[in-house]
């Protein structure tokens, strides 16, 4: 008998071992995530058993000797009667409470100059290469009910001399009425173009190590009002196979614009902005998005008198294709500043084009960017800048990536700027 029991145990263990090995071969994705999902479901089943047991106890001794029913039996009844087991199943399938997600990065950037420059982040004046941690992002989401949810993004950003500041990048109360009307209230990233809404502050999401020059956040010296507090509406427009969607925003955008060197800020004292956008995702070409937006606001320019007011209009057009490992991003901008007290108008064109292709874990990329600010204009310190960036992103797994990027920037009236940017980006 003992021999037989030992043999049975041996057979079971060996069979499980074989089965596990076979399953692991089939399930190519990371075992860790699979284990996590299994643990999650085991916990859910344990909760289900606990509740069922408590229900059985509560039903009294008269039911104690009732023949046990298969687990699946009560479920159709639950659906028909909308009784308690339905809510029990909801508990099993819903994620309650606050969900966390983190994004982090560790960077090393070296330039062939010793003065700070836009987008060099923790660049220390006097050095030409240094480490920094960029933004450490915490994304918190919580579901209130089927239609309402809350999203917040908190960024711990690195400043000079390894000082850190906390920024509430986004805090949004979302209400999805239906596919045609999805509302958000709070602080959001403005829907000027594609990049700002697609990548937000998550460096890990980006193929490249940094944002395109024109898409840099305003608090990092960028030219666009990238954040605002107000109302945002988006949704699908009935348009058949054209797949039209809209974005409409009304709010107060960034009021402080950091200069290139990061040692001063201009208060734009802006009014409320309005931004409307339209984009199409045609069914005939999955992965393609074509769209544009118009943004308008009134801001102040202190460099032109004590209170020079100007109208700021930003027109965007974009063509994006993402499918089958190919990422092709193209965006063009026209930033127009019209002074109220005079007939002076400045038009600043900018664009970037980025292409990459995934080969297993490796994704080489190439980007060309261009920005041309008028002399004497509101953003004159940017002057004419353009140049290529190229590099490689290597994904160690689904959560950790290493990027190497070389930049060459031509600047009007200044020497060319060369940079090497190494970045370890991760999510957890």
């Amino acid at each position: 008998m003992r021999y037989s029991r030992a043999t049975t145990i041996l057979l079971l263990v060996a069979s499980l071992s074989f089965a596990r090995r076979s399953y692991a071969q089939d399930a190519a994705p990371s075992d860790r995530e699979m284990i996590q999902q299994l643990v999650q479901q085991v916990k859910a089943l344990q909760e289900k058993v606990t509740v069922l047991e408590s229900q059985q106890r509560a039903s009294g001794p008269s039911n104690a000797d009732t023949t046990p029913q298969p687990a699946s039996t009560p479920i159709p009844q639950a659906a028909d009667n909308n009784a308690q087991p339905a809510s029990l199943l909801e508990e099993l399938h819903e994620l309650r409470g606050i969900q966390w997600r983190g994004f982090g990065e560790v960077d090393y950037k070296v330039l062939n100059q010793r003065t700070p420059e836009l987008g060099t982040y923790g660049f220390v004046p006097g050095s030409h290469g240094n480490f920094y941690t960029g933004d450490f992002d915490l994304l918190l989401t919580a579901r209130i009910n089927d239609k309402a949810s809350v999203l917040s993004e908190i960024a711990f950003g690195e400043g000079e001399a390894q000082t850190f500041s906390v920024d509430l990048e986004r805090v949004l109360f979302n209400y999805d009425y239906n596919d045609h009307l999805r509302m958000s209230f709070g602080r959001y990233h403005t829907g000027i173009g594609y990049y700002n809404l697609a990548f937000h502050s998550g460096t890990w999401l980006q193929t490249t190590a940094d944002r395109p020059l024109v898409m840099e956040f305003a608090h990092d010296g960028g030219v666009l009002p990238t954040q605002a507090v107000g109302l945002s509406f988006t949704g699908a427009i009935p348009s058949g196979r054209l797949g039209l969607n809209y974005v409409a925003e009304y709010g107060s955008s960034d009021t402080e614009l950091h200069n290139l060197a990061g040692d001063a800020t201009d208060d734009e004292e802006n009014g409320n902005h309005i931004n409307v956008g339209l984009f199409a995702r045609p069914e005939s070409i999955p992965g393609l998005q074509i769209g544009g937006s118009i943004y308008h606001d009134r801001i102040s320019d202190r460099s032109h008198g004590s209170y020079a007011r100007l109208g700021q209009t930003i027109v965007n057009g974009h063509i994006v294709y993402i499918r089958g490992g190919i990422e092709f991003l193209n965006e063009g901008f026209l930033i127009r500043h019209a002074y109220q007290q005079s007939s002076t108008v400045y038009n600043m064109p900018a664009f970037y084009s980025q292409i990459s292709k995934q080969f297993h874990r490796v994704r080489p990329f190439f980007r060309y960017q261009y920005i041309n600010a008028n002399e004497g204009g509101f953003l004159e310190e940017f002057v004419l800048r353009h140049g290529p960036s190229f590099g490689v992103r290597y994904d160690f797994n689904d959560s950790v990536a290493f990027k190497t990027q070389l930049d060459h920037t031509l600047r009007k009236g200044q020497p060319d700027l060369n940079g090497l940017h190494l970045q370890l980006a991760f999510t957890f």
Partner: protein
Amino acid sequence: MQTTLIVVWVAISLAGVARLPTAAAQSGAVAVVVNEKNPVTNLSTSELRKLFAGEKHSWTGGVPVKLFVRAPGAYERVVLLKLLGMSESAYKQYWTAQVFRGEAQTEPLALFSNGMQKEALTVYPGAVALVIVQDVKPHMKVVRVDGHLPGETGYPLH
């Protein structure tokens, strides 16, 4: 006696491994199933792609869409990735991005059995899932795709 047992054990184990359903070995049509009270009867391939990419958030009438997918390794998962044109890794990154963008509250719950999918479909009016045709159970409503039912010529989900 011991040798005989070992031989039998090896034979059983190998037979068991050989009979394990694997994504690679399985094939055939995969049905799109919804809650039986869902009025939808037909979806185009592009509508289906939008559904499982999280771009369509509610059914006609405003009932929120609830996505249920099979865990990695299942044949339905292979068909899902083929539909979306993504690798497993790209799928995970895509949903991380969708949540980060606020386009989705969470990524779709990955279930380890069709029994669990059946439970979910029964409970949620807006539930939708992919199930191998042979595993379609009562209370699962099969939806036509591009006007075709699984098994008919031109049915796209294989």
